[in-house]
């Protein structure tokens, strides 16, 4: 069920999947070419942000454009739980695709560095937290209102990010020197974020009136 719905998400944004795939492929070498001092980490982060969030946005836009299609799917034997979980699987599949592309590129493009599992774990946690907040809010308030809520957060973020950077930067070297187990914990934390968020989203969508 979940994979059939994952296929549905891919089909409704199929035009954009190729474009986002292209972004994921081109951003790391582009960063290597234009800003070599940020090669690697930043290129990967940007490719993930573009691919995962843009694709999720496109899926949400299409669902918003055709809200009654979800009515038909729920009238069919697709469970609401599967409908929700497929969104999470979709985001994680997009993230896995970015990791794979970046991993391959580090092997074939000189100067991109080596695939770094620490980076993948931290980014997984960050993406899980972001998706984990975004999806329940969207299920609760709808795409349109969620869009305004997150637009507000983005507008206020310049005030918070410098404070966050000042707090994190002095500890960055400690953070990077942390043992492998620490990063496993970070990845696990991401998985917990996703599980809690998916649980909340399922609860919210279960009570939604589909009309």
């Amino acid at each position: 069920m979940v994979f059939a719905l994952l296929k549905k998400d891919v089909l409704i944004v199929k035009k954009y999947v190729l474009v986002m795939l292209l972004f994921a492929v081109l951003i790391p070498p582009f960063m290597r070419w234009r800003v070599p001092e940020f090669t690697g980490t930043l290129g990967f982060i940007l490719s993930v942000i573009f691919s995962v969030f843009m694709l999720l946005q496109y899926v949400s836009i299409k669902e918003y454009q055709y809200p009654r299609a979800a009515v038909l799917l729920c009238a069919a034997p697709f469970s609401r739980r599967a409908m929700v979980l497929s969104k999470y699987v979709f985001c994680m599949a997009a993230y896995a695709m970015c990791c794979m592309i970046y991993g391959i590129e580090t092997l074939v493009i000189p100067g991109l560095g080596r695939p770094d599992m620490r980076l993948f774990a931290v980014m997984f946690c960050a993406i899980s937290a972001a998706v984990g907040v975004y999806l329940p809010v969207q299920y609760k308030f709808g795409f349109d209102r969620a869009k305004y809520i997150f637009a507000g957060l983005i507008i206020f973020s310049p005030m918070c990010v410098p404070l966050l950077m000042r707090t994190v930067s002095p500890r960055l070297s400690l953070f990077l020197a942390a043992p492998r187990l620490f990063y496993s914990g970070i990845a696990l934390l991401g998985a917990v974020f996703l599980a809690v968020s998916a649980f909340l989203s399922v609860k919210i969508y279960d009570k939604a009136d589909l009309s």
Partner: protein, 285 residues
């Protein structure tokens, strides 16, 4: 005859609208028309019965199974045709089919192809390019391709031309010939039901007004024409609704023998379903 669907004591509040103690059942082997004016509660009832919106109380059983406990199994045995299709319009017919077919355990690719050919639908065509009639046919092809035992349709004939409506009714008749099936068909175009319905359920202001076999129902009511001077304080309550012109009155009644006792020279005729619908909603006044 077994009941394929039993709804009892269904209550739901929906803004300023509510379904109040909705109770009805669908017998196997019958095409049941669900009639009511726009806003009477047809779509809300169908969606509540299908679990698409919540309910305050009520018991819903399909094929003798409790809906809440066997939702997936029940939906696997139901074909759904919703008003205007409810598709992702940018997908092709084949793509939309590939999504929906994976939900059904008894999907028949052979049946689907047969219906696509019968309706002259091109699988590579995008849904957004289909006319309203073609969308309905496509929805019907999807609903009939997984050996559904019950077909639920929400206003399928609304906005369709008479030819397409006639084709739809023909398909429904063929579907019923297989035996052990039932159709539940909400509409406000009652002329379609005159042709094919076996049973009628009427809803108004969120309450079930009646559930009766069509022929028995048509025998129960009479449309009466007479002289307006015969309408007195005593005779007027015998009619559900009365409309008067300078030439006389026309009324709908369920008490024709009493009407004849009071006004012997009235002309009484068999009403249409629309007359009965209007009579019960006050629309004929």
């Amino acid at each position: 005859m077994n009941d394929i669907l039993t709804v009892s004591g269904l209550n739901k509040s929906y803004g300023d609208f509510s379904l109040s103690d909705v109770t009805f059942s669908l017998p196997e082997g019958c095409i049941t028309g669900f009639i009511g004016v726009n806003g009477a509660g047809k779509t809300t009832t169908l969606r509540t019965v299908l679990g698409l919106t919540g309910r305050l109380s009520g018991d819903i059983r399909f094929f003798g199974l409790d809906f809440d406990r066997h939702e997936r199994e029940i939906k696997d045995r139901i074909g759904i045709v919703l008003d205007d299709g409810c598709f992702y319009d940018e997908l092709t017919l084949m793509e939309m089919k590939s999504i929906l077919s994976s939900a059904y355990t008894s999907w028949s690719e052979q049946d689907f192809k047969r219906y696509m050919d019968l309706f002259s639908l091109d699988p590579k065509q995008k849904i957004q390019t289909l006319s309203r009639g073609m969308r309905m046919k496509y929805a019907l092809a999807l609903a009939l391709s997984h050996n559904a035992e019950l077909l639920i349709m929400d206003e399928p004939t609304s906005g369709l031309d008479p030819l397409v409506r006639s084709q739809l009714l023909q398909i429904l008749s063929e579907y019923m010939q297989n035996g052990g099936k039932a159709v539940f068909f909400s509409t406000h175009i009652t002329s379609d039901l005159d042709k094919i319905a076996d049973m009628l359920i009427m809803i108004d202001h969120g309450r079930i007004v009646f559930q009766e076999e069509k022929d028995a129902l048509l025998d129960t009511y009479r449309i009466v024409k007479g002289d307006s001077r015969d309408l007195t304080a005593e005779t007027r309550p015998l009619f559900l609704t009365v409309s008067e012109t300078e030439f006389g009155f026309t009324g709908i009644t369920k008490r024709i023998s009493e009407v004849r006792d009071h006004i012997p020279d009235v002309i009484a005729g068999r009403p249409t379903i629309e007359d009965i619908l209007l009579g019960n909603t006050g629309g004929a006044q």
